[in-house]
């Protein structure tokens, strides 16, 4: 039983970490702000879930689990809102999205 729990939390932690690294690569490699937001925010939710779930399996049913659940809920609640606010602000301030090599100038023109 303990072995199964260990293996499961291993798998969850690795999955979470891999998602995190994927998102990180995305923020480095993607060409513009909006695509980078995509990379980091989409992976973020599942990354947090996997890692926290992996930890909960280890902690068992204790106060620690309750706190972990709070952290997860908090992250799930705030991080999409933060992303939303971020993209909205960037868009309102006129940060142009990257469309193709010569289309970004057109996009800016079209907007204003």
């Amino acid at each position: 039983m303990a072995l199964i729990v260990d293996a499961l939390s291993w798998a969850l932690l690795i999955a979470g970490v891999v998602l995190g690294i994927t998102g990180a690569i995305g923020t480095i490699r993607f060409p513009d702000f909006y695509t980078r937001v995509h990379a980091s925010s989409v992976t973020d939710t599942l990354c947090a879930l996997c890692i926290i779930a992996g930890l909960i399996l280890q902690a068992g049913f204790t106060l620690v689990t309750v706190k972990l659940v709070f952290i997860l809920l908090f992250l799930w609640y705030t991080s999409p809102v933060a992303t939303h606010a971020l993209v909205r602000a960037a868009h309102h301030m006129g940060l142009p999205p990257y469309l193709s090599n010569n289309a970004s100038a057109d996009a800016q023109k079209g907007k204003s």
């Binding site: 970490v17 973020d44 280890q58 902690a59 908090f74 606010a85 960037a90 301030m93 142009p96």
Partner: protein, 90 residues
């Protein structure tokens, strides 16, 4: 072992986020990177508690999740009220 490995991997993610925060180019990229750095630090603190065998320090992770969120909102709000026009690039 498993926790130590995850800690290191999360540190790598944090480092990569920092690189984006240093590089910019726009102020929004930096906010994005700092936000990502913050959430990964929360996870790092959680895992690190298990790694050292004292997981009862999760309060700090919780506080930081909170502070990180309010920080991002604050930056956005003040960037908004300072730069009314322009691309926000520095």
């Amino acid at each position: 072992m498993m926790f130590g490995f995850s800690c290191l991997a999360l540190l790598v993610v944090m480092g990569v986020a920092l690189v984006r925060a240093f590089a910019g180019p726009s102020v929004y990229d930096r906010i994005l990177a700092v936000n990502m750095f913050g959430t990964k630090t929360v996870l790092f603190l959680a895992v690190f508690g298990f790694f050292t065998g004292r997981p009862d320090f999760l309060d700090i992770a919780l506080v930081y999740a909170l502070i990180n969120f309010i920080g991002v909102i604050a930056v956005l709000r003040f960037v908004e009220s300072v730069t009314h026009t322009g691309t926000g690039a520095d």
